[in-house]
Symmetry: C2
Subunit: 297 residues, 2 copies
């Protein structure tokens, strides 16, 4: 293995310490950050995530309330619940756990969360703000992946980067965010004629597709950074395993840095959610104070 394996947990620990400090400051001012997690129907799929979020929140001094609604809850009822949370000054952020039942369109719910309480960064206005380089609350996975790149001794200005995967919630926002930092970015996807042509010319490669083994060592430039955002469950002779989109073995022989899966982007994503929670609480506090400071007595 030639590549240095990036330690997502170490990055997470640093971020969590900063979040805990900021949460303590906010709490002292009467604004202890609070997240509400909404899941609908069968909770088994999301349960592991929710429990992990809860643990991370509590260890950082962020309040966390996990709510579960029955599978038959209507869109109108959920919209009403979200509007209630938007209006509740004690709630600073709302997390909508996936998957949702088929009759609930996730985008409609994400749009209903007030942009200032959108700690997942999924509101169209949050995504639009990335384009405008005005990153208030960015999508957690996206911010996490880019934060990891920032820890490496690479100058982002002029860096040639290939992003593989052009989903609305990961690939495209990563590309925008990197462009804002000065990188030259190519976005590849399932219609790209030759991904390797682009990835082999790049100093850093991000992959977020959901296909194990998609990126192999021969697709990389020697010494490049590989940030693997994929999370796939695969069956192996030793039982089920979680792997990313990169063939870790061959990529590790060529890359200069590589994120492991699990233990790379995943933990940093949860830490970013907590960072968004304290950012959201501070923005709401300032918004509230501005509103009152402007009132004539």
């Amino acid at each position: 293995m030639r590549a240095q394996v990036i330690d997502g947990k170490a990055i997470t620990a640093r971020m969590r310490a900063e979040v805990a400090e900021e949460a303590a400051r906010l709490t002292a001012e009467g604004w202890q950050p609070k997240l509400v997690s909404i899941s609908v129907g069968d909770t088994a799929a999301a349960e592991l995530y929710v429990r992990n979020q809860q643990r991370q929140a509590e260890s950082a001094g962020v309040l966390f309330e996990a709510r579960n609604y029955p599978a038959e809850t209507s869109l109108e009822q959920l919209t009403g619940i979200l509007q209630g949370l938007n209006a509740d000054p004690r709630v600073n952020g709302v997390i909508i756990q996936r998957p949702l039942p088929d009759h609930i369109p996730v985008k409609v719910l994400q749009k209903t969360v007030h942009p200032l309480k959108d700690v997942e960064g999924m509101h169209p206005a949050s995504i639009g703000n990335i384009v405008y380089n005005d990153l208030a609350l960015g999508p957690c996975t996206v911010v996490a992946a880019v934060e990891i790149l920032k820890t490496l001794p690479l100058k982002l200005e002029g860096l040639d980067v290939t992003v593989i995967g052009h989903s609305e919630i990961v690939g495209k926002p990563i590309a925008f965010l990197l462009m804002g930092l000065g990188a030259t970015v190519t976005v590849c996807h399932h219609m790209t004629r030759s991904v390797a042509m682009h990835s082999r010319a790049s100093d850093a490669v991000f992959v977020a597709v959901g296909k194990p083994g998609l990126v192999t060592g021969e697709m990389l430039k020697p010494g490049a950074a590989l940030i693997d955002i994929g999370i796939n469950r695969v069956e192996t002779s030793e039982g089920p395993r979680t792997v990313g989109d990169a063939d870790f073995e061959s990529c590790g022989e060529v890359a200069g840095w590589i994120t492991p899966v699990p233990g790379g982007v995943g933990p940093v994503t949860v830490a970013t959610l907590m960072k968004n929670a304290v950012l959201a609480a501070r923005m709401q506090m300032e918004h509230y104070r501005d509103a009152y400071a402007r009132t004539e007595h």
Copy 2:
């Protein structure tokens, strides 16, 4: 000259005929589209644009009201004016002419225009919707440049495209619109180490930087499409001239298609503004009808 010169005016004429038909349909239903143009202070710089927009609007059956406010108008006054236009059912679209006086931040005004009346497509929500592939009202220049590419006999899926220039209002949205259409897109800018490395490997090149002569023939792949979005005033021995960002001579020898400046993207942009005006009027009509259809009698 090897390249075929793309005739922006012919594309415009087709678009204008479609807009006129749709405007006539809307008018018959009591919803004749109406645009209001806002300029502030010295009008000389914008006057040519405004007059051109007015002429195009009128020839398509779109009402056009050009308003000019004194240079000393405050941001609060302008915000109030825009809120009044948002609330006025007779106004379907608002255009904010640039340049504005220094004390007026253009983004604040653009955010104040209601997204359904944002015919220039400059609201963060409009830009964010591009990322989500939900192009309601796109930025006019962006939509125009991509419409031009669509008129060529090139399959957009898998097309390798380089966008030179990463501005928030042109380069980035073009990149995301093209990605949504299946192209593999690289965005280059002033920090890119080698623009030619990317542009030479591309089937189509968009340039929107504002530097005459930036793109030369040797930066292109033979037969590629070159869409030139730059508009620059330069002094020549025969007096002032308007040119794009491409060196038209050398690029014309290598490219397969090339847009002239003037006469390329420019006229198509104005036609797109009119198309947005009828789209906005229709969305508002539907929104209005939905609201009333839902009321209990």
